[in-house]
């Protein structure tokens, strides 16, 4: 009996390091699992109302910055027309039709066209990515903020934003038929707004 007890003690003593090692490994695996599940919960929960509230604020900000006509255009048609820089310079003080202009859509390329003829010129693909520390690059501006950013960039430093953009022929991302329809909608919108005095001002 005594011999059996001694043998058991020796066996336990010999196995002790192995048991300790296994216990530590199990403990480490357990803490790793806990950390993993904790970090999964640390990710900010998706708040469906946050984007809606952000967009609402963005619309207010856009409305406070652009002209009444441009705001009405965006509210009713979903895009804004911005006259080209040289056009604005020539048109300042004179009521002349702009030689070229841009259609500014949210999260879509800027489209250059000729208002006189409705000829579509080119698409300028531009975005305003999050460059902040820890930015995932996946988040983007609310739709109205994107339009405002394009509007500010075009009206303040058109050359710079066009230089930064990737230029393509119309049709790469936007359907030319859809664009022509938007120009027609814009012309109709202006005709209604001015009581029929404008006619084909945007075509």
């Amino acid at each position: 009996m005594l011999a059996l007890l001694a043998l058991s003690l020796i066996a336990v003593a010999l196995a002790a390091p192995m048991i300790t090692r296994e216990a530590r490994r199990w403990q480490k695996q357990r803490s790793d699992r806990r950390a993993a599940s904790a970090s999964a919960f640390d990710v900010p929960l998706y708040d469906p109302g946050r984007e809606r509230r952000a967009e609402q604020r963005a619309r207010e900000l856009l409305r406070s910055c652009v002209n009444d006509e441009e705001w009405g255009m965006y509210r009713d048609l979903g895009f804004i027309r911005v006259e080209g820089r040289h056009a604005r310079r020539a048109a300042d003080g004179r009521k002349t039709r702009a030689p070229y202009a841009y259609l500014v859509y949210p999260h879509k390329p800027i489209v250059a066209y000729v208002p006189e003829t409705g000829q579509l010129l080119s698409e300028y693909c531009v975005e305003f990515p999050d460059l902040g520390v820890g930015a995932s690059g996946r988040s983007r501006l609310p739709a109205s903020d994107d339009v405002l950013a394009k509007w500010m960039a075009l009206t303040s430093d058109e050359a710079r934003v066009i230089r930064q953009a990737n230029m393509h022929l119309v049709g790469r991302q936007l359907d030319p038929a859809r664009l022509r329809k938007d120009l027609w909608r814009l012309a109709e919108w202006e005709r209604r707004r001015t009581g029929g005095a404008v006619g084909r001002s945007s075509l």
Partner: protein, 77 residues
């Protein structure tokens, strides 16, 4: 304007008050250092149309400007 969040108030104050002005300058520089563009909505004195003025230096902010809007710099999409 911050992607994923929209409009955020970064700092506010009276530029005529020195402490406020210093705080505004600091925030302005921090935003530009982070790669943001700054613009001020203005009204064209000739045509009366609203437009934006890009601001590259704190001193360029028009005295009558009520706000400076920071937005991510444009890049090719």
């Amino acid at each position: 304007m911050k992607p994923g969040h929209g409009e955020l108030l970064l700092a506010e104050g009276d530029r005529r008050v020195r402490e406020d002005d210093e705080r505004l300058i600091q925030e302005f520089r921090r935003q530009l250092d982070e790669g943001m563009w700054a613009a001020v909505p203005t009204v064209n004195s000739g045509s009366g149309r609203r437009e934006a003025q890009m601001i590259r230096d704190y001193g360029e902010i028009p005295p009558e400007a009520e706000r400076v809007i920071f937005f991510p710099r444009a890049s090719g999409g």
